[in-house]
Amino acid sequence: MSDFLQGLLTALPRLLQEGLQATLISFVGGAVVMVVVAVLLGLAEHQGPAWLRGIARFVVEFFRGTSLVVQLFFLFYVIPTLTGVDLGSTWTAILALGLNYGAYGAEVVRGSLNAVPRGQWETATALSMPWFTQMRRVIWPQAWALMLPGFNNLMVMLVKGTAVVSLVLMADLTFEADQLRRRVGTWPAFIAALLIYYVIALLVSLVMRWMERRAQRRLGLGDFEIRKARQEADQVMAGAAAGDAEPVAAGKEGET
């Protein structure tokens, strides 16, 4: 047991020095790309004209339906020979992570936009707001609060997802732990890595929770809406065709 502790104490500082940086770069870069992709695709799916909606839908299903590792290898092995552009390990990793999780995020964005009551759109129209103002001032702040639980789950998934970046030769925590395995033993090396991943995921989740509470307090959202958003959030990663009711353009049918 003391051997184990000894090994753990050797491994932890080594990993913090060697692997942590690559993991964090992949996570932060991936998170930024993920949010951008999610917002663009989600908006296109919900608000775009039919043709754009179709394209966005296809892109989302494509990235969710093919595996993350396949996408990573495609960017790493195929894109350079196909286009002559070599992205390098870091950008390959960031793009693959961002696109893959962003496609899941698009569903979060779309679902949240869908969940904003139609009356909000109608009132904004009745106040003569142009589309962009409606979106920016009325709809988005409400949808945002509903998105955060979903993004919270995705961020944790993304932290875990970064473990694949060693496949494209980034020296991340997983890679370094595998290297340390021979020196300090299998269990100490990997347990140390797992502990670090756990702490990162926990911190990320804490920050997201804090943002969630802040946004929801601002909206005065009821418990019901929050619980519903959380429940839906738990299903974010599951289901490639989770597509709930087709997006309804504001005011297509109504009481007469």
Partner: protein, 212 residues
């Protein structure tokens, strides 16, 4: 760029890896996950806090840490196990932590009156679970379990970390050998899409059908 001959060559190689490894690990892993998940869900509800709390922490820890590392640690920690076995166990255990959440939601969705009615009839706990709670809970949970199984399916390429020659590993190897990755990677991606998309649509239908 695209070589039809290579494409035709890669097809049987990948399909073979797909059937022999990817599918086997997915099906066995999902079955294990579904069984373990149910055990966790019931245990978390029935165990006293002294045992329930640590179990909950362990499940959380597994859920919030990367699967590839789990594969590596079990593979190198238990050298007597084959890669396939490690894969099935690790995928099963990892996804059981998600599925237990699905079960929990399913159990939570059962109205309090059902428990109270069972108690009023003096049904023993085991009978209450088996005859009253689970039949209702599982019905609500089924689509969610299916969706997690699909997610697991798309994670099977992680087996590359422990050198199990599943489909994407095979694709990379094939690409490396022929100095062209596009055919093999495209086929691998399409096989995933072709297998997962219809299943997901099916789950969606199931969900609608099972909804009260």
């Amino acid at each position: 760029m695209w070589d039809n001959e290579l494409f035709l060559q890669t097809l049987p190689v990948l399909v073979k890896a797909f059937v022999q490894i990817t599918l086997v690990v997915t099906v066995a892993g999902a079955a294990l996950a579904a069984a373990l998940g149910l055990v966790w869900a019931i245990a978390l509800r029935e165990l006293p806090a002294l045992l329930g709390r640590p179990l909950g922490f362990v499940l959380d820890f597994i859920r919030m840490t990367p699967l590839p590392v789990h594969l590596l640690v079990v593979y190198h920690g238990f050298t007597q196990l084959s890669g396939m076995t490690v894969g099935i166990i690790v995928f099963g255990v990892h996804y059981s932590t998600y599925m237990s959440e699905s079960y929990r939601a399913g159990i939570d969705s059962i109205r309090k009156g059902q428990w109270e009615a069972a108690k009023a009839l003096s049904l023993p706990a085991s009978r209450t679970w088996r005859a009253v709670i689970l039949p209702q809970a599982v019905r609500n949970t089924l689509p969610s379990l299916g969706n997690w199984a699909i997610a697991m399916f798309k994670d099977t390429p992680f087996l590359i970390f422990i050198s199990v020659p599943e489909m994407v590993t095979a694709a990379r190897e094939f690409g490396g050998r022929h100095f062209s990755y596009i055919e093999a990677m495209t086929v691998a991606g399409l096989l995933f899409l072709v297998a997962s998309y219809p299943t997901a649509v099916l789950m969606r239908k199931l969900e609608k059908k099972l909804a009260y």
